[in-house]
């Protein structure tokens, strides 16, 4: 794994415009940086990232299978009781899932360590699936990198195929908070993939969803929603006013309800509890677990809210002192404690390696860099290549 500087494409401004990204002279595309790329060997990608991600996916399924039969686990994950059967049924009925991204701390030669699993509302999808691929095609065409270079990137084809396999025959709705450009952009892209798979689709704001007399969810035209692809976290849905109607509203949700177990950082202590010592896992504990207290006494750990996003409210303790912490709106959330395994550093940048899971298959890679050990919302996606 190397970080290799490269000249930004001369047509980056046009490329950005073609894909609806913001571009500022001197700064480039917001959230994207192509003044460097990461190069991996095929063995690194296949053996040290793809294979572990695939193995962890299988372990996650075991966690879900156990959690749905254990009320104290669901309670610990802060899942309201009225959703317990609902989540269990979605798992027992094998409701198919679509997307997730596992984030790893990875340094060549060391086992990649799972930092978290964004299993419900992963973003930077378009950058990873489309923009990154287009970058590779163009730099290959320009001859500035070896023409044997490849990418782990079957994301787009895999999403289209996954939509076909979902066997959706009705109008499908796509809902998110449309005021947030990133969220809307990501969901619009997912919708394009669905359309490519021949699915009839319709977008709406999450706040525009209605409830009818029969307790069904409706769109702005009062049509009953039967399939809903959402870019809106399960924990928010469960917590909000219409949440109580969800278990009986008859909607097929994508992601399915059981993803609420995986997208919760409580997944990390559950994984550690079942697979303690696994080379790709870090020790992790619920903060109120006595084992967490012993672990914290050692003075090196990371505290994370169970339900938080974009690197908010993370605290890194090293040698008993706060090394780094981030602000955010999730301070009153219950936390987990995880072993501290710092991201590697390349010219002052800390890459976080994301492995895209589409329908539970590891099919793509995206790297986000931040200049701190906590990857936050200012992180930039950096393209990658595979070259031996």
């Amino acid at each position: 794994m190397q970080r290799i500087p490269i000249i930004e494409r001369s047509n980056l401004k046009e490329a950005a415009a073609n894909h609806g990204f913001e571009y500022a002279p001197g700064k480039g595309v917001s959230g994207w940086n192509e003044r460097a790329y990461y190069q991996f060997s095929l063995d690194q990608i296949e053996g040290e990232i793809e294979a572990p991600a695939q193995e962890i996916e299988g372990m996650c399924f075991q966690v879900v299978g156990r959690a749905i039969n254990n009320e104290s686990v669901l309670d610990r994950l802060c899942i309201p009781e009225i959703f317990w059967d609902y989540i269990a049924n979605s798992w027992n009925n094998r409701e198919k899932n679509l997307l997730g991204r596992m984030d790893f701390s990875y340094k060549a030669g060391d086992a990649a360590k799972l930092l978290e699993y964004n299993a419900d509302t992963p973003t930077t999808l378009y950058e990873s699936a489309i923009f990154q691929w287009e970058w590779l095609e163009e730099v290959l065409k320009q001859g500035v990198i070896s023409n044997n270079s490849d990418q782990l990137n079957d994301i787009h084809e895999s999403i289209v195929e996954a939509f076909s396999n979902l066997k959706i025959e009705t109008l499908t709705h796509f809902a998110c908070n449309q005021n947030i450009e990133d969220d809307k952009g990501t969901l619009d892209y997912i919708k394009e993939c669905a359309q490519e798979a021949g699915i009839e689709s319709c977008s709406l704001g999450i706040e525009d969803i209605g409830l009818n007399d029969q307790g069904r969810l409706t769109d702005v035209d009062d049509q009953i929603i039967t399939t809903l692809v959402k870019l809106y976290p399960w924990e928010w849905i469960m917590d909000e006013a219409f949440g109580q109607y969800v278990p009986s509203c008859g909607v097929r949700f994508i992601e399915p309800p059981w993803k609420a177990i995986l997208s919760n950082k409580g997944l990390l202590p559950l994984l550690w509890g079942m697979f303690e010592g696994h080379p790709n896992l870090l020790p992790a504990f619920f903060e109120d677990d006595p084992a967490a207290i012993d672990f914290m006494n050692d003075g090196n750990y990371v505290g994370k809210p169970m339900l938080s996003r974009q690197g908010a409210n993370i605290e890194i303790i090293q040698g008993g002192k706060t090394l780094c912490h981030s602000e955010g709106p999730y301070a009153d959330n219950a936390r987990i404690i995880q072993g501290f395994h710092p991201l590697p550093k390349f010219e002052g940048n800390h890459p976080l390696v994301g492995c895209w899971m589409v329908a539970s298959k590891a099919v793509g890679l995206s790297i986000r860099e931040d200049n701190t050990l906590i990857t936050g919302k200012d992180a930039q996606v950096i393209p990658h290549v595979i070259l031996d």
Partner: protein, 180 residues
Amino acid sequence: MKSRSSISIVFMMSVSLIALTSCDEPKVDASIFKTLDQCKKDPLVSSDECVSNFKEARNQHAAVAPKYASKADCQADFGEAKCEQAPYRTSSGGSVFMPMMMGYMMGSMMGGRRSMMSQPLYQSAQSPNSFRTADNRNVGSTTGRTRVANSATNRPSFKSRTRARGGFGSSGGRFGSAAT
């Protein structure tokens, strides 16, 4: 487009749907009839098929037809004397209106989608000669055997009154992006 606060905005579909129907979609065989009698006179369809398909469409009519809280709104979309009272009440007890069924569409026995369900058709005030499905898909003005967009043969959605909106979205307002 009527405002979102009106009880039912039904005949106006979302933009994405309109865009979809304008695309070059594959067409399939179907038969359209104004009345049961017209169907019975068609030599290509047996009388039994006419009756069973008519009944199927008729039975769906009340559930799938666009709904309005005022007769005037319904008539504005479908024309004078083309609306009837629906067997529903608004949450405050008021009447609900819907357009009259003006025809029905069934699968063609000749190579069409045999599994296709029969469905009721409507005619808007704006283009009174064309038939539309309950989901506002224009299926043309031809009666008897015809070809229609494949998506127009989908089972029409149930239209019902929305009693509340805004029950989702508050966390997004508080926390911002859902991105991870």
